[in-house]
């Protein structure tokens, strides 16, 4: 009897085996497929982003022999940096390369090969070293965005315009310059040292970076201590009651509130009621700290909860007061988790743009902010602004700004991982 049962059981098991194996295989390949699709999308995104953005890190420069004429720069003996015609000096230098161009309208076309930044470069040079006054210097000055784009499109080939942005004559001149090796592509320093500009070749992300930096500074100073203190109170000291349950549910709800709502709140409270300045990183930081607070509280509470109760028992059985238990034992063990939560909250804040639109941080601001109350934008808002600009040169700068933003996000998340790995203790 027993033998018979075991035989049939074995048959039943064997009959089902292939079905089970098949199911497992299907499941495994579905997972593999899902992962592949995900990686593929990410790959397409990155390839596209870097393909479009990488060229923005280089810029075309034109070599000019600029005569730093005393008569033009220092008509009254002293250099006049505010009103001297540096533009004229640069144009003269360019005209010397093309003596055949004499007609006014043609000259104007010729001048458009240069960026307005060329004159600023000459001015800065003289300002730094007045001894150069009266000499002739060979300088690499930035070309205009249209020339830059033309050169980037036609890698090494004789230039040929297809965008319609440059006239036939301009394309010819660029070709001449290229033949005489008076054109070169170099590192685009303006992208990292300048604020925003209407001229793509002069536009940089410095202003937006500093704006983001000041905002995150305000956010971390406000949200980290507040969030940790709230988490410690709720976990360790607050009596379990209906009220604490309601608070808990609402903190979780707060984490899910759309960020633009926080922007409206900031507009109403900080700008309208508290009369803080508009477009200021201070207000941006306050809004972002409201946004990250629930994230930090939730992460910190989870970190506190994960501290084993045996450690608390040990400390309190030795006569540690409740506060000593928390600050000597629970906090040090929970700190890595709290820091990780904070960094993740911060990187969310860094990528946030919607609430900043509501408090006026979406503006054309040329000056790099020097403090918490100076008008500023932030990196994601700068991306939004540039993506909206019609010039083709801004398209690649948009991608470049996205690359920089992603770089910072990656760094922050890496820091979170490293902190977790380094500080994690086993007990």
């Amino acid at each position: 009897m027993a033998m018979a049962t075991s035989t049939t059981n074995r048959q039943k098991v064997e009959a089902g085996l292939s079905r089970r194996r098949r199911k497992e295989l299907v499941f495994r390949y579905t997972g593999l497929l899902a992962t592949t699709v995900g990686i593929l999308f990410l790959g397409v995104f990155f390839v596209d982003l870097f393909g479009k953005g990488a060229s923005a890190f280089r810029q075309t420069y034109i070599s000019l022999d600029v005569e730093l004429s005393e008569a033009v720069i220092a008509p009254g003996g002293e250099p006049d940096f505010a009103f001297a015609d540096f533009d004229g000096l640069v144009r003269d230098a360019l005209r010397k390369l093309f003596p055949e161009v004499t007609e006014r309208s043609q000259r104007r076309e010729l001048y458009r090969l240069l960026s307005v930044g060329a004159a600023y470069q000459v001015r800065d040079l003289v300002e730094q070293d007045p001894a150069l006054l009266g000499t002739t210097q060979t300088l690499w000055v930035p070309a205009s965005a249209n020339v830059d784009m033309l050169i980037k499109r036609s890698e090494g080939e004789p230039v040929e315009d297809d965008s319609g942005q440059l006239s036939v004559a301009q394309v010819y001149w660029v070709g001449q310059l290229q033949q005489q090796e008076l054109l070169k592509k170099g590192w685009n320093t303006a992208l990292f040292t300048n604020g925003d500009s209407r001229e793509p070749e002069l536009a940089g992300i410095r202003g937006a970076l500093m704006g983001s930096f000041y905002m995150l500074l305000v956010t971390v100073v406000i949200a980290f201590p507040t969030g940790v203190a709230a988490a410690v109170y709720l976990e360790e000291f607050a009596p379990r009651s209906r009220i604490s349950d309601i608070i808990e549910v609402n903190i979780n709800n707060l984490a899910a509130v759309p960020s633009i709502v926080f922007g409206l709140l900031g507009l109403a409270v900080f700008i309208n009621w508290a009369s803080l300045p508009r477009s200021a990183p201070l207000v941006g930081g306050l809004v972002l700290s409201l946004l990250t607070l629930p994230v930090i509280i939730i992460a910190s509470r989870a970190a506190i909860k994960s501290v084993p109760p045996s450690i608390r028992d040990a400390a309190s059985s030795l006569g540690a007061s409740r506060m000593q238990v928390v600050f000597h034992h629970v906090m040090p063990l929970a700190l890595p988790g709290m820091l990780t939560g904070t960094i993740i909250g911060m990187s969310r804040a860094l990528g946030e743009s919607a609430p900043l639109l509501m408090i006026g941080m979406v503006a054309f601001i040329v000056d790099v902010p020097a403090g918490l109350t100076d008008p500023a934008t932030a990196l994601p808002v700068q991306i939004y602004l540039w993506a909206d600009s019609p010039e083709r040169a801004f398209a690649e700068r948009t991608s470049a700004a996205i690359i920089v933003l992603l770089g910072f996000l990656l760094l922050m998340n890496l820091a979170a991982v490293i902190i977790r790995k380094r500080m994690q203790r086993n007990w």
């Binding site: 009596p239 028992d313 040990a314 059985s317 030795l318 006569g319 540690a320 000593q324």
Partner: protein, 286 residues
């Protein structure tokens, strides 16, 4: 073990009862009084919410006495132990009535700070729970928070004495800065005992201190309990009858929250007076 099962066991025990042996859970059999009482529990009841965990327990614990609390799982022996240093305070639903006196002072009185109480009544737990700090800091923590040492030299001395008393000094004297969590289980438990001694308590509570240890480590802890009993009143909760027999002077048997029988260790193991006690020590209830 569920209540229903426990009741079945009680009924089973009643059915087997021999003449002259009572099976009722009522007044405690044996002498709850001590000649030289230090900790005195009078009519203690403990509730966890609606659950009546300890029922009207009266027990005296003497100076320099080792008393073992034994009984089946869920009988309330650990709960009773945790009343003695108010560790139940951290459980919100717990409620304690009756009086517990430590050297004549009511430990549940309003003007007694549990922090001060725990400096006098130390505790060692079931699972070794050293802090994730160095061996030195583990032992020095208690003296530090209570301000027991005036300077570093005095603190060093306290750490050394405590580790010596716990029989751990020779094993760790060259690596006091190593993590306490890196020691073996038995060493960790002795470290926890050293940590407790360092505060200079008068009573030491031990909640199944050897249940996570191997037999050799257990033997060392038991020897240690023996030595420590010269200076401290020690209350040991244990599941091991042999351990109770080896280390304790008196034994208290708990059943379903009731203190069933208390007696000298020799007497209770050779001549239990209550049927339930007999069943437990002979292994019929576990």
């Amino acid at each position: 073990m569920s209540n229903a099962t426990n009741e079945n066991l009680v009924n089973l025990a009643a059915a087997r009862a021999e003449p002259g042996q009572t099976t009722e859970l009522g007044a405690t059999i044996g002498d709850v009084r001590s000649k030289n009482p230090f900790v005195v529990a009078e009519n203690v009841d403990v509730y966890y919410g609606d659950n009546h965990a300890i029922r009207n327990v009266t027990l005296e614990i003497g100076k320099q006495e080792v008393i073992a609390l034994i009984g089946p799982s869920g009988c309330g022996k650990s709960t009773f132990l945790r009343c003695l240093n108010r560790m139940n305070d951290s459980i919100e639903s717990a409620r304690v009535s009756g009086t517990i006196l430590l050297d004549g002072q009511d430990i549940y009185s309003r003007n007694l700070d549990p922090v001060a109480l725990r400096a006098r009544v130390g505790m060692v737990f079931q699972k070794p729970n050293p802090f994730p700090k160095s061996i030195y800091d583990n032992v020095a923590y208690g003296p530090r928070i209570h301000g027991l040492a005036a300077d570093r030299a005095e603190l060093d001395q306290i750490v050394r004495t405590s580790l010596e008393r716990a029989g751990l000094w020779d094993e760790v004297k060259d690596r006091l800065d190593d993590a306490g969590t890196g020691l073996s289980g038995g060493q960790q438990q002795r470290l926890c005992i050293a940590r407790t001694i360092a505060v200079g308590p008068e009573v030491i509570l031990m909640d199944e201190p050897c249940s996570a240890l191997d037999p050799i480590a257990t033997a060392r802890i038991e020897d240690l309990i023996d030595e420590l009993s010269e200076d401290y009143a020690i209350v040991v909760v244990t599941h091991s009858m042999q351990q109770a027999a080896r280390v304790s002077k008196r034994v208290a048997y708990f059943h379903l929250g009731t203190l069933v029988e208390v007696d000298e260790t020799d007497r209770i193991f050779t001549n239990p007076r209550h049927k339930l006690t007999e069943d437990y020590i002979t292994g019929r209830i576990g």
